[in-house]
């Protein structure tokens, strides 16, 4: 780790004023600190968001659930009133990770194997920042890339309550990130199927969404041929295997929703 300055502002405005091209926001630190320890990044200043109370908490807001960016996975697992979201958060990493890692950090980082992107896209959430509101479909751009501008701070993520939803995850046996994770949701805007882990970035499986809109049953997915093209391939899983898992997990999510 290289030397750096450490700032811990207590307001969002103060945080925003501290951000420049040589500083980095610090949330739970579970991605950022390993990067620093391996000397893969050399920021001059870390701006720790943990003293900004307004960034924390799980707040029901009508038919929506607003989750502050600095809310830990453990808190979401315990308090989120959307069961699929709570169970997704409860399946992230291990207890240490869940008690440090935050939804803001996870979403901003956009790791291709992270769980939250599937929830944000699958449940059609909105990512709110200190500057604007970004819809889920626009937020995740590519591998580790989001629609956030330099220095833009996520304040919270608002999830519309779905009619029903389920998240199925196939763990990487080593890291326990998702080799594939599938969120299936019945929302006011129709059926959504979001896939994480499988590709460079979370994506919607529109063929499945269409099939499930007509017949919301595992059977409806039976004849869908999930292509391995463009999917990730590594020492843990080939693209072909990931394609299989997308279908298996989607069917299981639907089965769970149908009880």
């Amino acid at each position: 780790m290289y030397d750096f300055d450490y700032k811990r502002p207590s307001t969002l405005d103060e945080a925003a004023s501290l951000i420049n091209e040589d500083s980095v926001l610090l949330a739970g630190g579970h991605t950022l600190l390993p990067t620093l320890k391996q000397r893969l990044a050399q920021p001059e200043t870390l701006v720790d968001l943990s003293a900004i109370d307004s960034l924390r908490g799980v707040c029901p807001d009508g038919d929506k659930l607003a989750i502050g960016a600095m809310t830990t996975h453990a808190e979401v697992a315990n308090k989120a009133t959307i069961p699929a979201l709570a169970s997704l958060a409860g399946g992230i990493g291990d207890p240490q990770v869940r008690n440090r890692g935050t939804i803001g950090g996870s979403v901003a980082n956009n790791d291709p194997a992270a769980d939250y992107p599937a929830a944000v896209v699958g449940l059609n959430a909105v990512v709110n920042t200190n500057k604007r509101a970004i819809s889920a479909d626009d937020f995740f751009v590519d591998l580790f890339e989001t629609a956030l501008d330099e220095g833009e701070i996520i304040t919270n993520v608002t999830f519309p309550t779905p009619d029903a939803a389920a998240y199925m995850k196939f763990d990487n046996p080593a890291s326990r990130y998702a080799i594939v994770g599938v969120m299936v949701a019945k929302t006011s805007g129709g059926v959504r199927v979001a896939v994480t882990g499988a590709g460079p970035c979370v994506f919607r499986q529109s063929e499945m969404e269409a099939a499930l809109s007509g017949d919301f049953s595992p059977r409806a997915l039976e004849n869908i041929n999930v292509s391995a093209d463009g999917l990730n391939s590594d020492i843990h899983a080939s693209a072909e295997y990931r394609a299989n898992l997308i279908k298996v997990l989607a069917k299981r999510a639907v089965a769970q929703i149908n009880g």
Binding site: R39, P173, A174
Partner: protein, 783 residues
Amino acid sequence: MTTETGIGASVRRKEDKRFIIGKGRYLDDITKPGQTYGYFVRSPHAHAKINNFDATEALNAPGVVAVLTGPDLEADGIGPIICGWGITSKDGTPHKAPAHPALAIGHVRYVGHQVALVVGETLQEAKNAAELVEIDYEELPHVVEVGDALAEGAPQIHADVPGNLSFDWELGDKAAAEQAISNAHHVTRMDLRNNRVIPNAMEPRAALSEYDMGTDEITLYTTSQNPHVHRLVLSAFNGVAPEHKLRVIAPDVGGGFGSKIFIYSEETVCAWATKKLNRPIKWTAERSEAFLSDAHGRDHETHAEMAFDSYGKILGLKVSTKANVGCYLSTFASAVPTYLYGTLLNGQYTMPAIYVEVQAGFTNTAPVDAYRGAGRPEATYVVERMIEIGAREMGIDPGEIRKRNFIAPDAYPYETPVIMTYDSGNYALAMDKAQEAIEYQGFEARKAESAQRGKLRGIGYSSFIEACGIAPSAAVGSLGAGVGLWESAQVRFNPTGSVTVFTGSHSHGQGHETTFAQIISDQLGVPIDQVEISHGDTGKVPFGMGTYGSRSLAVGGSAIVKAVDKIVEKSKKIAAHTLEASVEDIEHAHGVFSVAGTDKKMTMAEIAFSAYVPHNYPADVEPGMDETAFYDPLNFTFPAGTHIAEVEIDPETGTTEILDWVAVDDFGNVINPMIVEGQVHGGLAQGIGQALLENCVYDKESGQLLTGSYMDYCMPRADDLPTFRVQTINTPCTTNPLGVKGCGEAGAIAAPAALMNAITNALGKEIDMPATPEKVWRAAQDL
């Protein structure tokens, strides 16, 4: 009288208090005044020539004390890292072990290869400076798989090792094995891969060296399983200091699994550099350094042929193995795929003819050496997979075929065709108990129930044998070992009756402080809290050979018994004198010395006191009560048993769930059943890890270690494992005074074959380890 703390009692581990309250003293907990920090510059390439090395900028960086290199070591006459076991090839030539300088000279041969030591006032400064060392590497072609390394036209790793072949060794009767195969009713032929694993002890390797100018003595604290062996090698071969001026201390060590037996570059360099710089130097491996540079385990490519008659009796076994030894021969690397492997291919069976040949190949990977089981898991994997597959091919029940082949309980001593003489065993009893425990008869019904849920259920056996209690010095000497493998013990009574036992064994998780104390408590009637076990410091303990190969109790424990015998003999003389009886009339039981047929007696504590305050004392007996014994075992010990695993596979995802695990092990007599059970659990976790989860992968293209962190290298976690159902049977070992066989490696030896037999039974198809979800899914889906 000492039943609660004596032999056979599940005494709680005395050492656990300090570990649980955070008072264990591991290497990194130790700090010396004026300490500096070492950081190793390592090769980023699999194979390269060093064209230029420039430390100018690094030396000018803040806080830098020194930058030391291979040529510096050479200039000071520090010898290369050695291999301590000579293997002779088929053609009579000795194995080829290219020079292995502790810091690279001219070439680097694997990713992580130690190139230079940067010493800084702080670790941060050492690391900062390490980034400023400029090395001009010229990359050379590399090879990481042993099959590729031994193939025609492979990149040449060492100029003096043609074809990358260290040795081509054989054991057994080739003609007899081939004849058995050609005359057989059935021959099972298989290619088997024993996957490469990374040991991952919880405490990474570390060293702290300190030089005392006044006494000219170097003290090296290091994470060693055998501090005296470290001292011997560092003195005799590396020339770091004369033996009497080098003290090696292995304090609390957080796991070894074999990987801390070896004498590595890092501690060698630290031991040398402390005197050169006249500053203490601490180096603690980061986890990523551990992945790169700890000696790895296993890595065999094997072709095997097992011949059967029509009744399923084994007629012969022929095995041809290519063993990856990494880029240099580590301390015991040559013994592992030879005398710790070929000699166990007889398994628990009567096998009239066995032949094994092993080619050891160098690759551009970390050295490979002993890892929990060392050679014996590889042997068990071959034998137990082959007999299982043979049974499948011949339509014989896998339990039944083993029973038809077991050596009978009255056939001991039993001499195998691969130079081992088994002293005792009862293989059918272990099998019967295991089958009963797992309710083997009900398996088909359970399988049908799983099938109804769309799941594939499988059951698999492993009737393993191992050679432990390593080992009779004359025997290993004749096979090429550079050392003897006896053990030492010193039993010292203090005047007030408490005891300190100095043992040459080293505990790094095994529970010696409890088990060894139980022996003293049992035999000499000393309350267990009055017994202290001291180990790990060459300045305190008599020369000892350390802990590996499940040898501590069978060899080190036996040495304690021998020292106790001397204590008893001396005590009898003192008791006879004091009680005015003849020595022949003194009877001893559990620390009470009585005159036969009378009520006159003395306790051990009274005798010890009189030995230190000899006011009324026999003229021909020395004062003091402090006896040392060295014990050289008469034979290996042969723990054996049957494990049965039951699994359920989800064919849609390829996930394997272990539903049940029964282990029936014959460890001979058991001193502490709780510790034994713990050892079995740990071994099983590692064996299951190898079969299901762990896999060391080097990228063929780049030579980089792809599994260099826990993000990619999968260690087993508690929720990957079932509740183990562990039993022991107890056929005493006939060749050591405690009748014990050793239990530390059994789980790791037995587990891989049992689990792979269960998985392939469920699949109806053979696959190699590790049985990753994708591999299992492909097999289940016929892809």
